[in-house]
C-alpha cells in the first residue's frame, strides 16, 4: 500500500485520485475549491481544501512523506510554483500535468520527475484513429512502437496467421483476434482469420505505417 497526494482535482486529477484509491492505496486529494474537495471525498482517503502554492499549507500536510505527488492544476503559475515548493520540501517523486510543450520543459527544469500531456497525447491518438483505413484504433506505446486494432478485410479472409505471415512480411505481430464477442489472446499460427474479425497488431511505427498503407 502506497501513499499518494493529488493536487488539483480537475478531470485529470480526480481520475488519478479515484484510480489510485480503487487500487487500495492511500490517497490525499487537495484543491482550493470546496465543492471539488467535497465531490472527491468518498473516493479518496482524505480530502483537504488548501492552496498548494502556499508553503505552509504543504508543510502542514507533510507533503514530502508521500511516495509520489501529482501536480494536476491547469493554472500555469500554480503548477510551476507548487512543483518548485514540492521539490524544495524534499518530495521524492513529482509528476506534473503540462498544458503545452513549453510548460512541460519548464516543469522539468523545475524538478518534475515526470511530465504528462493528457489532452495532447489523446489528440494525437484520436487523429490516428480517424485516418487509417479500417483501422479502429492506433495506440502509440512509445516514440518507436505502436499497437493497431484493425478489421480483417477480404484479402485476409480464410487464411491462417501462418499463411498471412505478417511478421516476416511486415514486421508486425498479431497479439489478439476477436471474432464477434470471442477474443483469443496471443493466437497461434494455425488460427484462421475471417473477414470482419478484429485483430490487434503490434510493431515498430514504420512497420505499422507500411502495413496500414498496404491495407488501403
Amino acid at each position: 500500500v502506497k501513499e499518494f497526494a493529488v493536487l488539483g482535482l480537475g478531470r485529470f486529477g480526480s481520475a488519478v485520485a479515484k484510480a489510485l484509491f480503487e487500487q487500495g492505496h492511500f490517497v490525499l486529494g487537495v484543491d482550493t475549491d470546496e465543492a471539488r474537495v467535497a465531490a472527491i471525498s468518498h473516493c479518496c482517503s482524505r480530502a483537504v481544501r488548501a492552496d498548494v502554492t502556499d508553503e505552509e499549507a504543504l508543510r502542514a500536510l507533510a507533503i514530502w512523506e508521500y511516495d509520489a505527488v501529482v501536480v494536476a492544476m491547469g493554472n500555469l503559475q500554480a503548477s510551476l510554483l507548487a512543483t518548485i515548493l514540492l521539490k524544495e520540501l524534499g518530495t521524492k517523486y513529482v509528476i506534473a500535468k503540462a498544458a503545452s510543450d513549453i510548460h512541460g520543459k519548464v516543469l522539468r527544469k523545475l524538478g518534475a520527475d515526470r511530465v504528462v500531456f493528457p489532452e495532447r497525447d489523446m489528440g494525437v491518438r484520436v487523429a490516428h484513429n480517424l485516418t487509417a483505413f479500417r483501422v479502429v484504433d492506433h495506440l502509440e506505446v512509445s516514440p518507436e512502437f505502436s499497437l493497431v486494432e484493425l478489421t480483417a478485410g477480404r484479402e485476409m479472409a480464410g487464411r491462417t496467421l501462418r499463411q498471412l505471415n505478417l511478421r516476416a512480411r511486415y514486421g508486425v505481430n498479431v497479439l489478439m483476434i476477436k471474432k464477434g464477442q470471442e477474443a483469443t489472446y496471443l493466437p497461434l499460427a494455425d488460427e484462421v482469420v475471417n473477414e470482419g474479425d478484429v485483430l490487434v497488431v503490434a510493431g515498430r511505427n514504420e512497420a505499422l505505417t507500411r502495413f496500414e498503407r498496404v491495407l488501403e
Copy 2:
C-alpha cells in the same frame, strides 16, 4: 486524403488538428477565439473564427461535407448543441470530447458517433504507472487487454526468453526489449534478458496483474 473539421481549438482540439494536418489531410480549425484561430493557422489547412452553436455558421462552412468532425469544446452547452446541429445537418461522423461520464452519455444520446475522455483516460493510465513495482508504464489497450513496460529485475537476469517462458507461465508476451539505447522488436526466444533491460509485455489484464504481483 481526407477532410476533417475540428471545432474548438483547446489543448485537445489543436493536438488533433495538427496531427491530422501532419498526416497530409485537409483540416479546418474553428474557434470563437481569434487568438486561437491565428495560432493554429500555420498548422492546419484553413482556420475560421466562428461560433459552432450557430446553425448558420455551420451551414456556411458546409460542415456536412467533412469525413469527420471533432467537437472539442470544454463548454458543456456548446458541446451538446454543436453535436445536435452537426447530426441534424447530416454530418457523417462526429467524435466528441466529454468532461465526465454523464456528459459522455448525453453526447451519445444526441448522436455522437464516438466519445473520448482525454483527461480521465490519461489519469487512469498515470495511476497505473505510479503503483506497479518496477513497472514503468501500464497501458490499457481495451477493457480486457493491456501492455506493460517493466524493468527486468535480478530474478530475470542472464536468462533467455525461452528459459523465462513467460507466455506459458503467465500468458504474457514480450513484444520488445530495450537494452540501453538499443531496442529489439519482437525479440526471439534465444534473446538474453539482463538486469535493467526494459521489456514491453502484452497480455490479458488478469494475466498481467498476476504477473505484476509476482514481480512485487
